[in-house]
Each structure stands twice: as structure tokens, then as C-alpha cells.
Assembly symmetry: C2
Homo-oligomer: 412 residues x 2
């Protein structure tokens, strides 16, 4: 399968080349449908062609490259990630998975191996959802699950998604011509940076994703009574911030004590009409709760709501609790995951199972196909940030593991 170091170097060069194509001077921003996005996508298509893949740009804007099996009835195995980025992004989140996938397909093509499935490498066009605040446009379109209402979504300048699709050369009436039917899926493999610190802290290059966490998001309002910070005695106060602070502590304590992968975060907190000499009367905050198991997730979410209610009751505050979003967990395919674990240990690495706390294109795809994911260590777990980094030695490890995984796959 070629020299891993040389392959990793070329992948790293391509990651850098893609990173140099940006909407913003001096930082990486390549959101869906922009000129730099199209430039980057065309660059990936060119590389796919050079690797001997049959390429196409589909109507939503995904870039796709294919190795067809000789068996006309063969299903398709997809290796993919995304090529769009957040604003002021790192280099690896998305593109790394696409460019490794491209390399894997190129190796397969060169090897002349008999393919039991068609192999398709895809660079999804919109995973981050920065421009239209709608994630997974590319992978949803690929499985025919793009909600038609999304076509009316507007970006910050008021431009509609349907217009952007047309501008890119797509035809909104032909989106369904691009889809891979549910029956045609053999499986889906995504390689992505961890975006968390576990592999970094444990000093392990790669990890297998057992599940993608489900998530509850809620908006809370604590209502008390504003008052003069100098004149209202402590025992006569209804301090909304003190109530919210007690909840922040309760959330941290609950998630830490429950362990087993539960994460819960208050990321936003805002005092209405705040002043240093005014007792806070109203506080708005957010709650984000994630877990890989839907039953545990729902129970924890309910428990946190109960905690907030109890705090407010005790303090004479009123509580407004609004569910903003609920997404269910995705469990990765047992057989593919077992194969990936074997590939890791065959490559000489410790096998670590991780729950992905972040969402990925694998989430929508999981509704039609078995999915499997490999996480790659990133520096301190930092992502969505220019400091995002993957070391060359971890790219090499990823290639070794992936080669072993692909070997099992086509040996079937």
C-alpha cells in the first residue's frame, strides 16, 4: 500500500493547500457556496481525477470520486468527511478526512484489487452550517433527506440557499438524481479529528468512535427581584444570578458525579440590565447536555430540570425552561467497528473507544447505512481555531490503521 510517510506528507501538503484557499485574509474561512469554497472543491476534484477516480460535482455541491466494482449489482461503500469550514477555522476539521479517503481510494485503484463494492469518496459541502445555520446539507441531500423548506433559508446577506445552489451550477429540481438509495449502501467510514482532549491526554494517536452523543439544548430564565446592592439585606434578596450560579454548580456537579460520559455545559449566561450596584433581577442562560445513550440522556436532562426547579423554589425565584433542540444518539455499526478495532490493534496501537460529543455527517447517514468512525488525536483537543493541529506521526498511524481496515473490507 505504498510508503506511509510519503503518503502522509502528500496529504499534509494538500491540507495546507486547501487551507490557503479562504474567504478571509490571514485566516481560514471557507463556508458553503462561496467562491473560495468552489475553488477548494474544484481543487479536490482535480486531485480525485489525478487519482483515477470517476468524479462529479453533485447538485447540492458535494465533490465525489468513485471506483466502480466490476459487479454491476454491488453496493457502495462511502468514505467521506466535509470540506466546508467554520469562520477562522483550523486546517484539519473536515478536509483531513476527505484527503485521507482520497488517498485510500487512490491506493485501492493502484493496487488493482477486485472490489466487492463500489468505493465512493465524498467531500461534503456543508457540515458546519455556518452560512445558513443548517448543518449536514451535503449528507442530507445524498440520502434524499434534505427538507425542502431549507431551500428558502437565507444567509446573512439575505441570499437564499436555492439561489446559491443555482449560482454554483446545481439544479434544485435534480437533487434526487444524486442520491445513493438506502438499499445501495454497504457502509460509511469517516475519519475526523477528535475535537476533544482524550487522545491527546492519553497519548494515543487514534481512537474508535462507539457512538455519537445525543443532545438536549435548553434556554433558561431565572427571575428574581432587582434591588439596590447597598440597601437590601442578604436575607431579603431574590438574586437571580445567585440562583443561576447555584444551577451552574449543580450542573457541573451532577455531570461530574454521574460520570459515564455525560457532559453538561452552561455556555451562555446574561444578566438583564446589569450594573455593579444592582442585585440581578433576571438572568438568561443556556444548557447543553450530551450522552451516547438516549435513556440516560433523557433521565439526566429531566434531573437537571428538577434541580433548577428546586433551586428556584428554595430561593423564591421563578423559572422559565424552554427546550431548544433534542437530537438522539447514533450508535456506530457493531461489525464495522469491530473490524476497525482489529485494524487498530493489528497496527500496534492501543484500542480506545470514544463517544463523539460533536455531530458529524455520519449522523444523517446512519439513518440509511451502517457507519463507522475513526478519531485522530489533535493538539490539546483544540478545534474550530487556528491552533488546531495534527502531527505527521498521527497521520501516518491513521494511514496504517485505515489500510488494515480497508484490507478487511475488500477481503469480504
Amino acid at each position: 500500500m505504498g510508503d506511509h510517510s510519503k503518503r502522509a506528507e502528500r496529504i499534509m501538503q494538500r491540507i495546507d493547500e486547501l487551507a490557503s484557499i479562504s474567504e478571509d485574509e490571514g485566516r481560514i474561512t471557507r463556508t458553503y457556496g462561496t467562491r473560495p469554497f468552489i475553488q477548494g472543491r474544484n481543487k479536490v476534484e482535480q486531485w480525485m481525477k489525478e487519482a483515477g477516480l470517476d468524479t462529479r460535482i453533485d447538485n447540492i455541491g458535494n465533490v465525489r470520486g468513485r471506483l466502480d466494482s466490476n459487479n454491476a449489482k454491488a453496493q457502495t461503500f462511502v468514505i467521506a468527511s466535509h470540506i466546508d469550514t467554520v469562520v477562522n477555522a483550523g486546517r484539519f476539521d473536515g478536509p483531513m478526512g476527505v484527503l485521507i479517503g482520497l488517498d485510500l481510494a487512490a491506493q485501492l485503484g493502484m493496487s488493482g484489487a477486485t472490489l466487492p463494492y463500489n468505493i465512493e469518496v465524498i467531500g461534503f459541502c456543508d457540515e458546519e452550517g455556518c452560512r445558513f445555520h443548517t448543518t449536514y446539507l451535503g449528507s442530507k441531500a445524498l440520502i434524499g433527506k434534505l427538507e425542502s423548506s431549507l431551500l428558502d433559508a437565507k444567509d446573512a446577506t439575505g441570499m437564499e440557499l436555492s439561489h446559491v445552489i443555482t449560482q454554483m451550477g446545481g439544479d434544485i429540481n435534480k437533487l434526487n438524481e444524486d442520491l445513493i438509495e438506502a438499499a445501495d449502501w454497504e457502509g460509511y467510514f469517516e475519519i475526523h479529528i477528535e475535537q476533544g482532549p482524550v487522545l491527546f491526554e492519553r497519548d494515543i494517536p487514534v481512537g474508535v468512535v462507539s457512538a455519537i452523543a445525543g443532545q438536549y439544548r435548553a434556554g433558561l430564565i431565572f427571575n428574581g427581584e432587582a434591588g439596590h446592592a447597598g440597601t437590601v439585606p442578604m436575607d431579603m434578596r431574590k438574586d437571580a444570578l445567585a440562583g443561576a450560579a447555584e444551577f451552574v454548580m449543580a450542573v457541573e456537579n451532577f455531570a461530574s458525579k454521574n460520570g459515564n460520559g455525560l457532559v453538561a455545559t452552561v455556555g451562555k449566561l446574561h444578566i438583564i440590565n446589569s450594573a455593579s450596584n444592582v442585585i440581578p433581577g433576571e438572568v438568561i442562560c443556556s444548557l447543553d447536555v450530551r450522552h451516547a445513550n438516549e435513556m440516560i440522556l433523557s433521565q439526566c436532562y429531566d434531573s437537571l430540570q428538577k434541580l433548577a426547579k428546586d433551586i428556584c423554589e428554595k430561593r423564591g425565584l421563578t423559572l422559565d425552561w424552554n427546550l431548544v433542540q433534542h437530537t438522539k444518539p447514533v450508535t456506530c455499526d457493531e461489525k464495522l467497528t469491530r473490524n476497525l478495532k482489529n485494524a487498530i490493534s493489528d497496527s500496534g496501537y492501543e484500542v480506545v473507544e470514544l463517544v463523539s460529543g460533536a455531530g458529524h455527517d455520519a449522523v444523517p447517514i446512519s439513518s440509511v447505512s451502517p457507519v463507522v468512525m475513526l478519531f485522530v488525536r489533535c493538539y490539546k483537543g483544540i478545534s474550530h481555531n487556528p491552533l488546531e493541529n495534527v502531527e505527521m506521526k498521527d497521520l501516518i498511524a491513521t494511514l496504517k490503521v485505515s489500510d488494515n481496515f480497508i484490507k478487511t473490507l475488500i477481503a469480504k
Copy 2:
């Protein structure tokens, strides 16, 4: 001393009349030096004239009315409060004290009593400090302690204080012609709404102020590490908000446990770059601590700083702690306060001592004169708000108590 009900009714009518003179349609705003301020001040001067007082508008803009003693060497006893307001103010904060003072002087004048001191009623021009962010302009000028640098202070439109003084007809070179020399002060009496809930909760019409609390104000920055709310396990987080929340709880707990009048408040709290799916990396907040005793105040301030440091050390956060302001407590005059207590019990009311958590013109005056203050119950302790209210029966109680107090005063 006349019929208390009739006097209280007239005072209430005048409070309403003054409240109708405003910069803003539909709400009360009468900040220093504005046309409505001058209108209101002229109205007060007219009432002073009708009461037979010798009136003047001094150079900084205070309105003053005087009953001179027959004794040419007599000192001066001042009864005062302020006539400026905050934006969207209540009716009573300031004007009530001035208009009751005016009534007391009018009664004294009509009674023909021999005055051992000159009696001067003053409506201070700027206690709230809303326009130039500098409190006590009027009372500082009265004692010759207005810092000359303040004359360069600019309002929101860029207009300088010195210009506003000239515009109102004052002469900035003659400010010292207005002062009451330190040797000439017999005492200072201020009647003010409590601006806190103690009298309201205890169902008592008036209270005597034992001291005006000293205050520390600090600005804090908690620095941790921003991270993805889905991917960083609970035990790997450096959540700046969790640290700040623990501090908010510690502040509340410390002040509540220490009792004895300590109040401590986190009134502002802001997360830098907050998002519901991002672990807070940096939080800025304020701390306001007040107590009537300087030694206790300083000790508590130090203890709270220690608590913040301990919290940050435990959590791997860094702490920035900046002292913003420190004002020392003012103790009210023992003899005048004893007389006021007697006046309260002679009027048939329970004697309650309160510490004023808010600042008053009595603070600067206390550097040259014995001061005494009477607090009047206000609805739920609400002030700086259109809901601010004093009931007629409490105005009557205030007049009874004040009459008894003045009786002792001139009987000296």
C-alpha cells in the same frame, strides 16, 4: 406646629408638582443643569420665598433658603437633600427630604421661636451624578471640597461642567463665596427614603441611620480554557463560568453567614465569546461589598479575595482582581442621633437603627459637620424606579418625628 395631615398633603402635592417637571415625556428625569432641572429648582425657590425664607441660588446650582438667628455669631444648622434625579426616577428620592425640610423651616418661621442657630434648607443640585458621573457636586461645593478637575468633566454630548455652570448663571470663580465654613456648622439633618426593604418588611414608618456604609468595588476576571461543550470530558475542563459561579455562591454564603449588616453583590457577569456549545474560557464580573465598620469591611473584602483565589487555584483558573473604588463608612453624630431616637419614641414609634447602604449628601458633609439622618419607609424598598412610593401616613409620621427633633434642637 400646625396640622400634620394638612402639612403632609401639601408636601405630597409639591412632590407631585416637582415630579411633573421632567426631561422625558411620561417619566421623571431631572438631571443636573438641564432646563427641567432649572425649572424645578426655581419652583422650590419660589416655595421657599412663600415660606418667608431668605433664598439664593448659589454658583454650583443649589437652591437655598435661610432663617437667620438673632445671634450674629450663631452657627448654622442645615436641613437638606437633593432635587436632581436619576433617569426614569421615582418621585421621592431627594425631593421629599428637601420639601419636608422646607416645611419644617416654614413652621419654625411662623412659630416666631428664638433660633439659637441659623437654619438653612438646601436642595442640592447633584447627588445622583447621572449627567457627569460625579456624585455630590452640590454638597461638595457647599463645603469647599469640589475638586477643580471635576469642572472639566464632560456629559454625554461633550459639554463641560464649567460650561453648564455658566449656562445656569453661576460663576466658576465664585464657588468659594457660597461655602459654609467648617467652623460655622452646627449640624446637618437629612430626611430620605430608605431605598431598602427593612422598614417595609418590619412595618415601621421611620428609622434612624446609625451609619452610612463604606464600600469596596472590584473588577474580576476568571480565566480558564474555552472548549467544545460536547467533546471535553467534565474532569478535563477549565470552565471559567463554573469558577465564577462558585465565587458568586461563596460571596452570597460569606455575607449571609457573617450577618451584622454586611452586604456583598456580584451585579455584573459577562462571558467573553459565549456560545451555548462552548465551555466558557473567560468571565468578567464585578464585586460590591459594603459595611458600616471600616475594619470589618476591609477584613471581609480581603476574605472574599482569598476565597476567589482559592477557587481559582483549585480549578486551575487564573484570577485578575482589580480594586475599582474604596469609600470609608460615615458614622452619624452620637448626640444628634440620640435626640432623633428620642423624637421617634416620643412620637410613639419603635426605634429602629439602620445602616444606609446607599450614599447620601451627608457623606461629604460629615467631613465638616455632625450629621444625622432619618429614613422613611418606601414601598417594598423600591427606588430609582417609577414604582418608588411613600404613603401619606408615613409622611405624617415623619413630620411628627421631625417636629419633636427640631423642638429639642432649638431648645438647646
